[in-house]
């Protein structure tokens, strides 16, 4: 260590505590550095929040109790609307953005937290009521953002360590975080923009250290490292939203790499038949589809269903976990034709409750809205890409609905109740 530095006044006042500004010695810290990361996060997190709210709406939680994982949402569901069926890649886009942008923002977030850490230790913690409130609000902000990123990253790795069901934790957690986020942006944005436009005199820079260590990395260099981290994450994960060679590039992300199988049924599987507890024998000769509606109950064999008019639709599977497939070519019976068979022959498509053969699971039963039943691309599919469905993709019959989240496309369908959904 250089002796001359030991004689500086800041050094003489030994021992150094985190509450003294000279404890923090990185010459990279500074208000402008933090401001740059801050505006990137402002844009990115706003996108995460909006796409998150859209994903929540995509499950149509206001349609039926079975769709609603957060029945006590109250006013937080104020914006809910009937999730549309077009464009058919809508959920693939919004949820792909939600998860991929979230992954890519991690280095920016960590750098931002690093850049402001000296403020955590400032003594006294607050000089006024206003500052005390602001500190509490920062706990919502920092605790909230880490809670959301950690639950999200664990959920896409199917590692359900968090203390409850993912849906309420991630949804309510987002609102708690956003409360802190809005306050923070409201208080800091004017100065952030001023600093970015006009710079900041060194004397006014409370984040810059009074006793800088010899520099090993410039501020621009530090930003480049953060950018490199984001780029690395983008390259190793974005391919999970596509089939084929692009997915192979996604080396380090769930559902990246090679496809799980080969041939027409080789694309990504939401949940395998074995994991869902499907007994193969129940899907063969003894399988019947029960249609219920004003006309009473009808039980149909697979042969009877295949004798009905068959239609095609090119639709992706897009999961809440952010991965998706390219369009697959599905073939089957239109949901609205099944609605007519169940007694809704007046042309107005009703809501439908779809039940799977799978014995349990949060999405064993889901409700689809009238607009989803009415879309001519919404099918009860028996085949995909020119071949019969594999057991893992829902043999003998599965739902496909344009723009609906993956789990709303029920596999191994056993019963459909048209109308009277609550």
């Amino acid at each position: 260590m250089d002796d001359s530095r030991l004689k500086t006044p800041a050094r003489l006042a030994a021992p150094q505590l985190p509450s003294t500004p000279a404890f923090w010695r990185s010459p990279v810290r500074g208000v402008r550095f933090t401001a740059l990361l801050g505006v990137v996060l402002l844009a990115g997190i706003t996108l995460l929040f909006v796409t998150g709210l859209l994903s929540y709406a995509a499950y149509n939680p206001d349609l039926a109790a079975v769709n609603d994982k957060t029945p006590d949402k109250g006013l937080l569901g104020f914006y809910l609307f009937a999730w549309p069926t077009g464009p058919h890649w809508l959920y693939r886009l919004t949820q792909g953005l939600h998860v991929t942008v979230g992954i890519v923002l991690v280095p920016v977030l960590l750098a931002k937290l690093w850049s402001v850490v000296p403020k955590l230790f400032v003594m006294p913690p607050a000089r006024s009521v206003a500052q005390a409130l602001e500190r509490v609000s920062l706990l919502l902000l920092v605790g909230g953002v880490l809670f959301e990123f950690v639950t999200g990253l664990l959920n896409i790795q199917l590692e359900y360590l968090f203390p409850g069901s993912f849906y309420p934790l991630h949804f309510y957690g987002a609102w708690v975080f956003v409360a802190g986020f809005v306050a923070h942006v409201g208080l800091k944005l004017p100065r952030t923009l001023r600093v970015l436009r006009h710079g900041i005199p060194p004397a006014a820079d409370e984040l810059a250290t009074p006793d800088p260590a010899p520099p090993t990395l410039s501020r621009r260099g530090a930003l480049t490292v953060v950018g490199a981290g984001s780029l690395l994450l983008l390259v190793t994960s974005a391919g999970r939203s596509f089939d084929g060679p692009l997915r192979r590039v996604a080396l380090l992300t769930p559902r990246g790499g090679a496809e799980p199988g080969e041939g027409p049924n080789g694309f990504q599987i939401n949940k395998t038949a074995a994991k869902a507890g499907i007994v193969p024998a129940d899907t063969r000769e003894r399988w019947r589809l029960t249609l219920a509606g004003p006309a009473g109950e009808v039980r149909l064999t697979r042969a009877q269903l295949l004798a009905m008019p068959q239609h095609s639709a090119a639709l992706p599977i897009a999961c809440v976990e952010g991965w998706s497939t390219s369009d697959q070519w599905w073939r089957g019976v239109r949901l609205r034709d099944l609605a007519a068979l169940a007694g809704h022959a007046d042309g107005r498509a009703p809501d439908v409750l779809v039940e799977s053969l799978q014995p349990s699971g949060p999405f064993r039963t889901v409700a689809l809205r009238g607009n989803q039943v009415a879309d001519p691309r919404s099918l009860l599919a028996f085949g995909v890409n020119g071949e019969e469905l594999s057991l893992d993709h829902g043999y003998p019959a599965r739902i496909v609905v344009p723009a609906a989240p993956g789990v709303m496309n029920t596999k191994w369908v056993a019963r459909m109740t048209f109308g009277g959904v609550r």
Binding site: L120, L187, T236, P254, G257, T272
Partner: protein, 156 residues
């Protein structure tokens, strides 16, 4: 108004913003606490902030200081170790359950083995350090050339 500023420490806009923020946070927070094991949810929420600020950040800061210190007078080279190590560590931190094969649900649900993640992470790490080493070689060769033929070329 001046009395408010003296007592509160900021303008009325600040107070309104804080009040609105806490109202929304309380409304959602009650539901968050009921959305799981209440005690554990609080632990996760507060613990995430504490774990980051008091454990993760000091750990990587100390690791960085150790590397810089070990390089001694050649501390200018620290970035050639620091950057690949940081990127590799970031990947390990984010994909820990998959890389360590801790995520038991992945294979049965996806029908894909998680075994490749450890290998891929090691390969990416190796690639990052190799790139860094190449960069160092290129920089060293260039700076030597500049030293050896600096003067004659300047006189042309």
């Amino acid at each position: 108004m001046r009395r408010l500023r003296r007592w509160y420490g900021a303008g009325p806009l600040h107070l309104v913003l804080m009040a609105a923020s806490f109202a929304i946070a309380a409304y959602a927070g009650i539901r968050l606490l009921e959305g799981g094991d209440t005690y554990l949810v609080v632990l996760w929420f507060v613990g995430a902030a504490l774990l980051h600020d008091l454990v993760l950040l000091p750990l990587y800061t100390l690791a960085d200081r150790a590397v810089t210190g070990a390089l001694g007078r050649r501390r200018g080279l620290v970035n050639f170790v620091r950057v690949p190590a940081l990127l590799s560590g970031l990947l390990l931190l984010m994909w820990w359950p998959l890389i360590t094969r801790h995520s038991h649900r992945y294979e049965p649900a996806a029908g894909m083995s998680p075994d490749r993640f450890l290998g891929n992470w090691l390969l990416i790490t190796a690639a990052l350090f190799t790139l860094s080493a190449l960069w160092l070689v290129v920089r060293t060769v260039r700076s030597r050339r500049r030293v050896t033929k600096g003067r004659p070329s300047a006189s042309h």
